[in-house]
């Protein structure tokens, strides 16, 4: 039942993007997301689309996988579009009953849905091509300087990777307990809100118990192997920048410059051409 969620899933493939250092991918994703809000006008988004298409092509992950992640936010997207469409003040375009679609509203709605869509696809490219372990490793190394101001970076990264690792396990567990209670004729669907909330007790109590049991087992297993935090701890697969990582950074820098330039210069260029003609 719950197996179909793909958001945050890893897709195994042999591609340049998969091989990149997780720090590069993390950094690029953040820059990409910021760029979506900095770039202005259709030209900026055209550059972003081009960049995204290039990365997806290189990653060898089927496009349908990324669209699947989109399904989760369709509802959110719809609400954003509708609100922007009808509630932005400006030059009226169409009026239906009391609702008015304005030119600015239309513009906002289109740009926002592009932004949100690109944001989701962009970040799912990262999670699809990076294992959770690599991701937390990358994050740990990126945030290492914060250690100086007594931020427990290693512990945070460890907690993150454990949490990520446990999501599928707990999902499977929920599925199992749900089925076990359904086999005892439990009813999770009918009734009013209070009744529905009450019907979740037979699901949540065993789920919490099992989560605590697993946490306890894991803690024991870690202690049995003398695990103790981050000081002087070495990695099995240390992260090193390689040539391809520097090239990737260079490409990202080009992308940002190109995007800003396109947003600023292209409209001038176009109006210039129009004036000339």
């Amino acid at each position: 039942m719950l197996r179909d969620i793909t958001l945050g899933q890893y897709y195994q493939a042999d591609s340049v993007i998969h091989k990149l250092d997780p720090r590069v991918k993390l950094g690029t994703t953040i820059i990409f997301i910021i760029s979506l809000f900095v770039f202005q006008g259709a030209w900026g988004y055209a550059v972003a689309a081009l960049f995204l298409a290039l990365v997806i092509k290189l990653s060898k992950v089927p496009f349908q996988f990324m669209v699947k992640g989109m399904k989760a936010i369709v509802f959110l997207l719809l609400i954003t579009v509708i609100f922007n469409l009808f509630l932005t003040p400006g030059e009226p375009l169409v009026t239906v009953w009391k609702l008015t679609i304005t030119k600015e509203g239309l513009r906002m709605a289109v740009f926002l849905s592009i932004r949100l869509g690109f944001l989701i696809i962009g970040s799912s490219v990262m999670t699809l091509t990076t294992t959770p372990n690599q991701l937390t490793d990358g994050l740990e190394k990126m945030l290492k300087p914060l250690n100086k101001i007594k931020v427990p970076v290693h512990e945070i990264a460890m907690m993150m990777s454990i949490a990520l690792r446990f999501i599928p396990i707990l999902m499977e567990e929920t599925d199992k307990i749900m089925k076990a209670q359904l086999a005892r004729c439990a009813d999770f669907e009918s009734g009013n809100l209070i009744k529905k909330a009450k019907s979740l007790v037979p699901l949540l109590v065993p789920l919490f118990i099992s989560a605590f049991r697993r946490a306890n087992d894991l803690a024991m297993a870690m202690e049995a192997r003398c695990y103790r935090g981050g000081d002087n701890r070495t990695k099995m697969k240390p992260l090193h920048y390689e040539k391809r990582d520097y090239i990737a950074y260079a490409i990202v820098a080009c992308y940002v410059i190109l995007g800003i330039a396109a947003g600023k210069l292209m409209p001038l260029l176009v109006s210039g051409i129009i004036q000339l003609v």
Binding site: R3, A183, D187, I209
Partner: protein
Amino acid sequence: MPIILDKVSHVYGQDTAMAVTALKNVSLVIPDGQFIGLIGHTGSGKSTLVQHLNGLMKATSGSIYFNGEDIDAEGFDKKMLRSKVGLVFQYPEHQLFETDVFADVCFGPKNLGLSKKEVELRAYEALKLVGLEDAYFYQSPFDLSGGQKRRVAIAGVLAMKPEVLVLDEPTAGLDPKGRDEILDQISRLKKETGMTVILVSHSMDDVAKYVERIIVMNKGSVMYDDAPREVFRHYQELEQIGLAAPQVTYIMKDLQDHGYDVSDEATTIEKAKEEIKSWFARLSAVGKGR
């Protein structure tokens, strides 16, 4: 009430790149009152199969008939089906949630909409059936031992008075004593109530002693479906799919190979003992004759 499976197939994640066929054209007839062992290696599809029996999973193709009615037909009462086909999952003690044992066992019958009196009567009967002592009835289920928790969980399903009881690996994670106790209890239950029991396991030794029919699953299809000793004749094929005949079968086969005139049809230690005893009797009879 008989259950009939007609060419049931199940595919996980259909229409994706990761589609896995868990069941392939499984056709079975489960008549009333049989004691059946369902055996297969991990991933052979046995757990998937039993979840089809009470409608928790829907067959990708094929149909399942309970008492002559298609369970996937519109308007079929799934709740009724689940109360008639009681399914006890692996590690059933993980489903316990109430504050005391008795209340937890009441959960099933309460969901059937019975009167309070009937619910409590059934819970009491079920707890008695699994042999739990009265002293434990009002304790927290989390304070009990592993074997006791499992009994409570089985009672939770029995309290719905199912006509078919399906147990998925009821002995997993128990020590030998706990395992024998649970299996003996189930066998006694079968005799007392006369219900159909399906025991899912990967251990032939567990099953051989109790059941009258064995269904061997391999890679999602039924490989053998016969009386235990007929199935164990194929012990070499069973080994190839990661299973084995009961240990006594091997001993009897070895004895045969060494020239002793014993039958290799014994599947339990008791039967093997009788066979060897009778061999000695024959031997001394021959000796006296001489």
